[in-house]
C-alpha cells in the first residue's frame, strides 16, 4: 500500500474528511448557536443585529458541508451508502430544517408586520436548535455504533432507535457548545445593551454546557467502554482529552477578561480537540456495528481505490490553500461590529 509520510491513503483521507468536518462545525456551529439564542433577544433591533452578524457568512459556512459530504462520498463510498441510508429520516429532517432556516432568514425582513417577523424568528430559532441537536444525535449514534448487519446494511428502526439517551445527551451537549460558541461570536459583533445581555447569556450557556458535557463524559466512561480503549492502550494519546479540557476551562477565564476573540479561538479549539478525540476513539473504524464486529465499516473496507484516493489527495493538496484563503478573505472583509442600515436583513 502506498504511503505519504508513513500514512496510508485511507488514513490520509480520513484526516482530510476530519479536517473538513471540524471546519464545518466551527463555522456553522457559531451561526447555529447564534440562531439558538435568537428568541432570547426581545427587541426588534437586537434581533436584526444578531441576524446581520451572521448575515454575510452563513451561506459560505454551509459550503463546507457540501465539500465535507462530497469528500465522504468520494473517499469512503461504502460508509456514505450505509450511513446515509441508515439515517434516512434524521438526514431528511436535517435537509428540511437547513432549507427552512435559510428561508426564514430571507423572508423575515421583507415585511414590517410584527406577527410576520415574530413567526419567522420562531422558525429561524427552532431550525437552528433542531439542526444543532441533529448533528449531535448523528455523532452520538456514530460513537455508539448502529445496527449494521449483512452486506453492511442497516437493520434497525427508522427514527426512534436513533433518539436513544446517549445520542440525545450528545445532541444537547452539541447544542450547548454551539450556543457558547455563538454567544462569543455575537459578543464580537455587537455593542450596547445587546452586548451586556449576551455577557449574561454566555455565562448561563457555559454552565449548561459544562453540566451536559460532564454528564455525557461520565456516561461514556461508565457505559460505552469501547470509546476509551485507545486511550487506555496508548497513554500518550491522553494529551488530547487533556487539551480539550484545558481549552474548555480557558473559555470562562477569557470571557471574564472580555477577551472574546481569544475566547472564540478557544471555543473553536475545543470543537477541534473534541473531534480529534472522536477520531482517535473510532480510528480505523468509521461506523461501528452493534450486531457483529465483522460488519464494522472501517476506513479500509470502505475506502475508494488507491488510484482514486491518490488523485483526490493531489486535488486536495492543490485546492486546500485556495479554500482557506477565501475563507480568511471573507472574514477579514466583514470584521468589526455590525452596523444596521436600510440594506440589512
Amino acid at each position: 500500500m502506498q504511503t505519504i509520510l508513513g500514512l496510508d491513503y485511507p488514513t490520509l483521507w480520513f484526516l482530510v474528511v476530519g479536517g473538513l468536518f471540524s471546519g464545518y462545525v466551527i463555522l456553522d456551529g457559531f451561526d447555529f448557536g447564534a440562531g439558538a439564542w435568537h428568541l432570547f433577544f426581545k427587541k426588534e433591533e437586537s434581533r436584526r443585529i444578531a441576524l446581520n452578524a451572521i448575515g454575510p457568512v452563513w451561506d459560505g459556512n454551509e459550503v463546507w458541508l457540501v465539500i465535507g459530504g462530497g469528500a465522504l462520498f468520494a473517499g469512503f463510498p461504502l460508509l456514505y451508502a450505509s450511513m446515509f441510508s441508515a439515517m434516512y429520516i434524521p438526514f431528511m429532517l436535517f435537509l428540511l430544517f437547513i432549507i427552512f432556516r435559510a428561508v426564514s432568514i430571507e423572508f423575515r425582513s421583507k415585511e414590517p408586520m410584527a406577527w410576520w417577523r415574530s413567526a419567522w424568528d420562531w422558525a429561524y430559532s427552532i431550525s437552528s436548535i433542531t439542526l444543532s441537536l441533529l448533528l449531535g444525535i448523528v455523532l452520538g449514534n456514530v460513537l455508539q455504533g448502529i445496527e449494521i448487519g449483512e452486506d453492511f446494511t442497516y437493520q434497525g428502526g427508522a427514527l426512534f432507535d436513533f433518539l436513544n439517551p446517549y445520542a440525545l445527551m450528545v445532541g444537547v451537549t452539541t447544542l450547548t457548545l454551539f450556543m457558547v460558541h455563538g454567544a462569543i461570536y455575537l459578543l464580537l459583533k455587537t455593542e450596547g445593551r445587546l452586548y451586556v445581555k449576551l455577557i449574561f447569556l454566555l455565562k448561563k450557556g457555559m454552565i449548561f454546557f459544562m453540566v451536559s458535557f460532564a454528564i455525557t463524559t461520565l456516561y461514556t466512561l461508565l457505559y460505552i467502554p469501547h470509546l476509551s480503549d485507545t486511550f487506555s492502550n496508548h497513554p500518550a494519546m491522553f494529551v488530547i482529552p487533556l487539551l480539550a479540557f484545558l481549552s474548555i476551562a480557558n473559555i470562562p477565564r477569557l470571557a471574564k477578561k472580555k477577551k472574546y476573540n481569544y475566547a472564540f479561538l478557544f471555543s473553536s479549539l475545543t470543537m477541534s480537540f473534541l473531534l480529534i478525540m472522536v477520531a482517535i476513539e473510532l480510528y480505523p473504524v468509521l461506523l461501528l456495528s452493534t450486531v457483529d464486529p465483522v460488519h464494522n465499516i472501517t476506513i479500509y473496507n470502505a475506502a475508494a481505490s488507491q488510484k482514486s484516493l491518490g488523485i483526490m489527495l493531489l486535488f486536495s493538496a492543490i485546492g486546500t490553500p485556495l479554500v482557506i484563503g477565501y475563507t480568511i478573505f471573507v472574514y477579514r472583509t466583514f470584521r468589526g461590529k455590525v452596523k444596521l442600515d436600510e440594506t440589512s436583513y
Binding site: Y88, I98, I99, I105, F107, M312, G319, V323, G325
Partner: protein, 458 residues
Amino acid sequence: MDVEILSRIQFAFTIAFHYIYPPLSIGLGLIMVIFESLYIRTGNKEYETLAKFWTRIFALTFGIGVATGIVMEFEFGTNWATYSRYVGDVFGSALAAEGIFAFALESGFLGVLLFGWNRVKPWVHLVATCGVFFGSMFSAVWIVIANSWQQTPAGYHIVGEGLMARAEITDFWAMVFNPSSMERLSHVWLGAFLSGAFLVLSVHAYYLIKGRYTEISKKAFKIALVVALVFSLGQLFTGHKSADGVAHNQPAKLAALEGHFEKEAPADMYIFGWVDKESESVTGLSIPGGLSFLLHQDFEAPVTGLNAFPEDERPSQVNAVFQFYHLMVAIGMALIALSLLGAFYWWRGILFDQKWLMGLFVFATLLPQIANQAGWFAAEMGRQPWVVYGLLKTSDALSKSVTANQVLFSLIMFFFIYLLLFVLFIYLLNKKIKHGPYDESEIEDHPNQQGMAEALTN
C-alpha cells in the same frame, strides 16, 4: 407504491427543481461578463448598471442553486446507497475536482463579484466575474462527466461480486473523456446560455413594453438577442452530435426517442406523434426514413429498433421518452425562429416597434427552461432500466434499508419546502425586476451587507 418508484419520483422532482437554477447562473454569468467587458471597452456607464443589475439576479439563482444542490448530494447516499457504493470510486475524483476547483473558484470570486464594485479596479472586478462564470461552467463539466459516465462508462474495471461489486477507476482521462461526455457537455452549456439569454430578453422586453428604462433595455436586449441567436443555432450542431452519439452508444435509447420498434428497418423521424406500445406503432406526422437519413445520410439505411433488445433491457416508458424528446426539439426550433425573427426586425431597424414580438419574448423565458427539463427527462428515462448503462439496473441501485413510507414522508416534505422556496424565488425575483436596474446608492454606500443579503436568498 414501492421504494423504487417513490425514490425515482423524489429524485426526479428534486433534481428538476434544482435544475431551474444552475443553467440560469451559468447563462447569466455569460451575460454579466459581456456587459462588464463592454463597460471596460466603451466606458459607458449604462453597461455597468446592467452588469450590476444582472449580478443581483444572478445572486438569487446562485443561492437557491446551492441550497437545492445539497439535497442532491445527500440523496445519493440516502436513497441510492447501492448506486453510491457502485460508482463512488469513479465519481470520487470528479466530485473532488468539482468541490475543490469549480466550487472554490466560484465562491472565492463571488465575494469580489458581489461587494467588490468599489473596492477593486474595474478590470480586477471583471476577472472576478469571469472567475465565477468559469467556476459555474466547470461545475457543469464535472457533473455532466459523471452523468455521461453513467450513460457510456469508460476507464474503469469491475471489482468484487454480487452486491459488493463496484466500478473502480483505471484511467482518469478515459473516464473524463468517455464517449458521450463532450457532446453532452456542449449541449448542456448551450442550453444554459439560452436560459440566461432568454431571461434577460424577457425582463428587458417587459421594460420596453412598459416604457421603463427604455434606452438601457434596448442595449441589453440586442446583446442578449445576439447570444440567443448564436447559441440557438449552435444547439442544432450539439444536438445533432448528441443524437449521433446516442445512436452509436445507446441504440435502445435512440429507438425510444423516435418510437422505433422494428429490429432492423429504415426509421422515420417524427415532427410530433403518439407512441402506442401495445401495437408498437406511432401515430403522427413524420418524415419517412428521416432518422435513417440523419444518421446515415441514406433514407433506406436500417436503424436498430427497440425489439432488438430484451424486454428488461430497454426503456419501458417509450411514449414519455418520445414526448420529452420531441418537446425539446420543438422548443429548440421555436427558439431559433424567435431569435431569427428578432434579428430580422433589428436588421430592418424596426425591432422595438414590434410590441407583439416583445410580448412573445416576455413569456419565451419559460421555453429554454422547459427544453432543458424535457431534454434531461428524455436522457434519463431513455437510459432506463439502467442507472449505469449496461452495468447496474436502477432497481438494484436502491438503499436496502429504506422503506416506502420513509421515502413517501420525505417526498411530501420536499414538495412543501420546495413550494415555499419557489414562492420565495418568484417573490424576490419580481421585487428585483419591479425595482429596476438602477440601484446605485444602495450598492455603493453599503457594499458589504447589501450584497451578501442578495446572495443569501437560498
